[in-house]
């Protein structure tokens, strides 16, 4: 069965780039859902089972940290890994993400290799295929 991935970012172009990058990383058969902020994401998780949530931090209405806290308070949602992909790079902020239970952190701008590496460590290899890195690496 394909992975189901929720991408949360208030920037539609950034959501599209993250999805394209994940597909290029070998997870081409994954099913993607999108949300523009934490509130939108919470509305979606009630309707779908998810393998991972990939979220920005700085969003209107409900930011990534508030969304992560809501996930961790819910006994069902608490087990879904949440990967932060954000420009917020202060040590304090990154430590706070991890202390609150984020599965990982990727700083924007990111390379496709970084996304692949994190997804492999959280989800494991893409279903049905062993990914082999080419000399040229991945392209956006």
């Amino acid at each position: 069965m394909a992975f189901k991935i929720l991408v949360v970012d208030d920037s539609q172009p950034m959501r599209a780039v993250i999805i394209k990058t994940i597909r290029a990383a070998g997870y081409g058969d994954a099913e993607f859902l999108e949300a523009a902020n934490g509130r939108d994401a919470l509305a979606q998780v009630g309707k779908h089972w998810l393998d991972i949530v990939i979220t920005d931090y700085n969003m209107p209405d409900m930011n990534g940290m508030e969304m992560l806290a809501a996930f961790k308070k819910d006994p069902v949602l608490a087990s879904i890994p949440v990967l932060m992909v954000t420009t917020e790079g202060s040590r304090e902020r990154v430590e706070a993400f991890l202390r609150m239970g984020a599965a990982g952190y990727i700083k924007k701008p990111f390379t496709p290799e970084k996304i692949r590496e994190k997804l492999m460590s959280i989800l494991g290899a893409p279903h049905g295929e062993a990914f082999e890195k080419s000399d040229a690496g991945l392209d956006f």
């Binding site: 172009p13 209107p60 917020e88 304090e92 924007k108 956006f140």
Partner: protein
């Protein structure tokens, strides 16, 4: 402080536009916003983002419409892009440049970034209220852009 901040801005712009837009860049660090001509360029697009913390102020990313259209198309891997996608890309660039500038400047200090928004030339004029300013003129193969930062006194 301003010298270090300017260096951090330059490193951040290179990282953001190099990593996600594959743009080789050159910087003109002595240029002022007035003399750069960017404010007089027809169709100039601007996104601003306020910040608070160890420093507070506003960062503005300025890019001509045609260049933004080409950058958005490259970023998204699409031949045709909408005005909404161009606006989203510009706001995301401002967000990434600001976040990376502050983590490069001092990762031990916390900065709170606002939500990026598109601004008009008159809003840009009102942001320039006489406080400290830092400006970088960014030259790419396809045209010039600018990054302006105003610091609250």
């Amino acid at each position: 402080m301003e010298k270090l901040l300017k260096k951090a801005m330059q490193a951040s712009i290179s990282e953001v536009l190099g990593t996600m837009f594959y743009m080789p860049l050159e910087f003109e660090t002595q240029e002022s916003l007035e003399h750069s001509g960017l404010l007089k360029t027809p169709g100039m697009q601007m996104a601003s983002l306020g910040f608070k913390g160890a420093l507070s102020g506003t960062l503005v990313f300025l890019v001509p419409r045609d260049l933004l259209q080409a950058m958005t198309a490259d970023f998204m891997g699409e031949r045709v892009v909408s005005a909404e996608q161009m606006a989203g890309t510009l706001k995301e660039i401002a967000n990434m440049v600001a976040g990376n500038t502050f983590s490069t400047y001092d990762s031990a200090k916390e900065f709170c970034l606002g939500i990026p928004e598109l601004i008009t030339p008159s809003r840009m004029a009102s942001l320039r209220s006489g406080g400290k300013e830092i400006f970088l003129l960014v030259e790419s193969v396809e045209g010039s852009m600018g990054v302006w930062m105003g610091l609250d006194s």
